[in-house]
Symmetry: C2
Subunit: 438 residues, 2 copies
Amino acid sequence: MAVAELTAPSICPKSNLRSSQLSYLSARFNSRRHQSFHLLRRVRSARISCSVNSQSPPVAVKTQDPKSKSSDCYGVFCLTYDLKAEDETKSWKKLINIAVSGAAGMISNHLLFKLASGQVFGPDQPIALKLLGSEKSFQALEGVAMELEDSLFPLLREVKIGIDPYEVFQDAEWALLIGAKPRGPGMERADLLDINGQIFAEQGKALNAVASRNVKVIVVGNPCNTNALICLKNAPNIPAKNFHALTRLDENRAKCQLALKAGVFYDKVSNVTIWGNHSTTQVPDFLNARINGVPVKQVITDHKWLEEEFTEKVQKRGGALIQKWGRSSAASTAVSIVDAIKSLVTPTPEGDWFSSGVYTNGNPYGIVEGIVFSMPCRSKGDGDYEFVKDVTFDNYLLKKITKTEAELLAEKRCVAHLTGEGIGFCDLPEDTMLPGEM
Amino acid sequence: MAVAELTAPSICPKSNLRSSQLSYLSARFNSRRHQSFHLLRRVRSARISCSVNSQSPPVAVKTQDPKSKSSDCYGVFCLTYDLKAEDETKSWKKLINIAVSGAAGMISNHLLFKLASGQVFGPDQPIALKLLGSEKSFQALEGVAMELEDSLFPLLREVKIGIDPYEVFQDAEWALLIGAKPRGPGMERADLLDINGQIFAEQGKALNAVASRNVKVIVVGNPCNTNALICLKNAPNIPAKNFHALTRLDENRAKCQLALKAGVFYDKVSNVTIWGNHSTTQVPDFLNARINGVPVKQVITDHKWLEEEFTEKVQKRGGALIQKWGRSSAASTAVSIVDAIKSLVTPTPEGDWFSSGVYTNGNPYGIVEGIVFSMPCRSKGDGDYEFVKDVTFDNYLLKKITKTEAELLAEKRCVAHLTGEGIGFCDLPEDTMLPGEM
C-alpha cells in the first residue's frame, strides 16, 4: 500500500512504552507478523488516525518509508507480535482480512460485531476488519471502530478504516459490499443502476488490483445482481464464480412464510431456492422446497396460495417491516449475510442447499450465461460452491424464471458501458425494486 | 397469566393444517410442552397478535378459557411440541424465559439477536424472548419480532411482545431492563430519578408477582444503580442479590484505555473494577488492575495519567462516540450486557473478576449497606456470584469510593417514596450523568 505522506491528525498519541514495561511484553513481540489495531485514512494526502484518545492534542508523527508495511500504523496500534507465542492463541488459524463497504451504515453496525465475535468464522479464526466509508461518513467510521475496541473481542486483531477502496481492499480475503447510494425521490431504476454501477465498477477494479487472488465477494448494495456483474467484469483477474449477490434474506423469508403456512417450525423447511434477480421478479421456488423432507406441494395443499400469495408475502416483508419498525431491516439482513458466509465456509447439510446470486456460466439449468442469477448451490465448506443437480421445473416455474432472466438481461444492457461491453441502453419497462429497499 | 378477553387484530390467520399434513407432524407434537412462537398484547382489553402476515384481512378468533396457558396464542403460533422427540434437539436444556424491556430500542435491537443466536447461553439452550415495550413502541416491537422470525434462529422457540410487565415477566428467569425515559431538556437528575424510579418500582412489583423466584435482573436504564435499588425494594420475594446494575461497559472501556496506554492488546488487562455509581463519580480502579498479571502501576509508570486522565477517558468515551457516530453506543452496550450475563453463567477465570452493581449487604469492603454499588465479583457459573476478597485500597481509592458512596446515599434519599422508606428528599449537588447518556 503506497502511502505518500504521513501526517498525524489530532487524535493519536504515540505509545509511551518504557524499557521497564517492554520486559513484560518483549516475549510476545515478533516483527514477522503484523497484527495491530490500526486505522487508516487517505484524503488527498494520506493520513493515519486511530479511533481512540480523541481528547488528546495533536501529536507529530515521524514520516516513515511509504513502502514499508508498517507505514500505515504507529504508536499503540503498531504492536507487532506473534499469536503463536501465546498459549491461548497458538492454535489459532492465520489472520484473515475482511473488507466491508458501507461500514458506517446500520447493516454493517450489526454485521461487524457478529464478525468480530467469532460467531461467523469460528472461535479460532482471528480477523482483521477493513472498513470502507465515504468522506461524509468518516467520523461515523471512527465511532464504529471505537465501539469495536470497547467490545474487547479477543479475535479482532486489526481494524482499519478508510475511504479509498485501493487501500481498504488490500489483501482482502472477503469483501462484503454493503454500501450503495439509496434511490432518491424521482430517481428511476435505470438511474440507480448507473449511479451504483459506477461505485461497483470502481470497487471491482480495486479488488482486481489489490485483493487476494481468491477473494470471495458478497454484494449486498442494490441492485445487487447487476452490481455484482459490474464488479466481476471489472475484476478479470479474480474468478467470476467468487462473486455473489445476496438473496439469502429472501430465502430466509421464504422459509419463514412456508413454515407459517404449514404450521411447522421454520427449521423443518429446506431446499428453498430463490431464482433470479433480487427484485420483484425473483422466484421463491416452492416446487423443489421441502418440509420435513416432503415436497411442499404435498404439505401445503392450498396451491392457489403458493402460486398467488406466497411470492408476494416474501417480497412485501421488507416494506411491512419499514411500516412497523420505521427503519429497514438491518438486523435480519446482517443475519442473512452471516448465513451466506457460513454456507460457504461450512459443508452444506446432506440433501439440502442454499441460494446465492452467482455468475451463470456453466450452470446446468439452461439460464443464459453472462449474468448474475440466484440459483441453488452446495459447498464443501472451502469457500467455493457447486450447482445443485437434482432440481425439477414445471411450466409455472420456467415461466417465472424466464421473466427474471429477461429482466437481468435488460439490466445488463443498461450497464454495458460499465462492463466494457459497449454503450449502455436502458429499456426497463417497470419498477421492480423490492418494497422496503428504496 | 389472566387474559380477560381475546379479540383478534388484523394480522393473524388461523393455522390451515389439514389431516393429511398432520401425519407428517404428529410424531413431533406433544401437548406437555408449550414451545410456540406467539406474541401477546394487552391494551386495556387483552388482545393477541402475531407479527406475521400483516397483509391478511381481519380474522375472528375464538375466545378461550382465560386461565388456560394456551389462551395467549392461537393458530400457527400455538404449536405445542416436544424438543425431546427430535434427534437434533433432544439433548437441549430446558427452555428459559428471557424478558427484555425497552425491546424496541437500539440496544435491544443488537442484544435480542445475540440472545437468539445462541452466543450468550450456548448452542443447546433454547430460549423464549418476552419483549416489553410501550403503547407507542408496539408496532416497532412487532417489527422486531418479524425480523427475529426471518432470522430463523433454531434456538429461538418463542417470542412474545407486550406492554404489561405483569404479563411479559411471567416466569422470567432473566429480566434485562433496558427501557427508561431519556432526560428531556431542562430536566434535572432528580426529576429523572423520580420518573424512571416509578417505572422501576412498577417493574419490581411485577417481577415480584410473576417472575421466577430466582430471576436474575440486570438494570441498564439510567440512573441504573438507583433504578436497580428501587426495583429490588419493590420485589421483596426475590433475593436482593439477584439484582444487577450494568457497569460492564465502563469496565470494558477502562480495560481498553489501560491497554492503549500500556501498548498491549486489551486481552492482557485483567482485574479491573468499577466501584460505585454508573455516573461521573464512578471509580475505575487502577490500583488492583493488572496487565499481563503485573499491577498496572508497575506497567504504566505515568501515575499522573492514571490519577488525572484515566477516569475521564473512560467516562468521556460515550460522549466522544455520540460526537463521532451521531448516536449513542448501542452496539457496544449490547456487547457489555452479553458479557455481564456470560460472567454469571460461566465460571470466572482463575484469579480474575468482573464488575457489577449489586446490593451492598454483606460486602467485605466496608461499603455502607442498603445501596446498589458496583464491586468486584466472581461466579461459579451458576448465575450467582460472590464478592472478591483480595483487593487492596489506598487513600486515593478510598477517597473516591467515599464520594460515589455519598452520591448513591443521596440518590437513595431522593427515591425514599419509591422504596417504601418514607418521603423522598432530593439534595443532589451536581450533575453526574455520564456524557453520552442524556
